[in-house]
């Protein structure tokens, strides 16, 4: 008696090779342009962040030189009047720093 055909028999190796190969090359001009546009946008964003960070650093560094130290002392003295102010200031600073860090990673 003939054996029933077995569905689970292994497929012919050469057939599998032919079947699974990539048959048509995909044209990539639009694709590549899309990726390059995204890279340009990301680099522009990173440059903006770097410039704003540098400006912020310069301003902070120049404040004492511009003899605004008493004003800054006054600003920090505000925190002694209410504990909520220092919490708000810390949260704000942390959020800003996190945003800068995440943007730089993007």
């Amino acid at each position: 008696m003939d054996r029933m055909p077995d569905n689970t028999q292994f497929i012919d190796e050469s057939l599998l090779q032919t079947l699974l190969q990539y048959h048509t090359p995909l044209t990539g001009r639009e694709f590549a342009n899309g990726v390059l546009a995204k890279i340009h946008a990301a680099e522009k964003k990173r440059r903006c962040i770097l410039i704003s960070s540098a400006l912020l650093g310069i301003i902070i560094a120049l404040l004492p030189a511009l003899q605004l130290l008493p004003t800054i002392t006054l600003f920090f003295n505000m925190f002694s009047s209410s504990p909520y102010l220092i919490t708000l200031f810390t949260l704000g600073t942390l959020s800003g720093a996190t945003w800068l860090f995440v943007s730089a990673l993007d």
């Binding site: 079947l19 699974l20 048959h23 048509t24 995909l26 694709f31 390059l36 995204k38 890279i39």
Partner: protein, 187 residues
């Protein structure tokens, strides 16, 4: 220009033209690979492929050259695919795109689409291992390196995948034979 020369130019000079050339050399393979993994969801595959090349541009400095650039690229593509696989819209879009793609008539394109549809019957790891082995031409140890799967598991996934494909191919061959016979009898 070879991959290594292009990579050196990108790292040293931030050369976008060199990156564009590197991308043109590899985009077809990576997009095909992702189309197989997503079982024919071309839109999703291309979205992931864009993420892959963006990531490659950022991480190219970390490429040590221990494996070939192609292996490294496929490793990143596989990781990006796994990250995207968690998204809810994944399965719905696969079906929607399939029906549109069937209207394409070129024979070779149809062969690609057929394989992509067949991939839907396989598990993710079986798709990855079979594609990397038969379509990309990687050795089992290279696949193990690219996917972080143990070598034994890679062999097992390839074997299971082949058996499932054999079932589907044999079934479709029997079906077409049956249709031919019934067609002749009807005449």
């Amino acid at each position: 220009m070879s991959d290594n020369e292009l990579i050196a130019r990108i790292i040293n000079n931030n050369d976008h033209q060199a990156f564009a050339e590197l991308m043109r050399n590899h985009q077809s393979t990576i997009r095909h690979f992702l189309r197989r993994l997503t079982a024919g969801n071309h839109a999703l595959a291309d979205d992931i492929a864009q993420d892959v090349f963006l990531l490659v541009f950022q991480k190219l400095g970390g490429f040590r050259g221990q494996a070939s650039f192609s292996t490294w690229l496929h490793k990143i593509a596989y990781r990006c695919f796994l990250r995207n696989q968690q998204k809810a819209y994944y399965r719905h879009e696969t079906e929607a795109v399939d029906s549109v793609l069937l209207t394409v008539s070129t024979q070779d394109v149809e062969a690609d689409i057929t394989v992509e549809r067949l991939m839907a019957y396989l598990e993710t790891n079986e798709r990855v291992c079979l594609t990397l082995s038969y379509s990309v031409g990687m050795s089992h140890s290279e696949i193990s390196n690219a996917t972080n799967l143990p070598l034994g598991s890679v062999k097992s996934y390839i074997s299971h995948g082949k058996r499932k494909l054999a079932e589907k191919v044999n079934a479709s061959q029997r079906q077409s034979k049956r249709e031919k016979i019934y067609g002749q009898n009807a005449r």
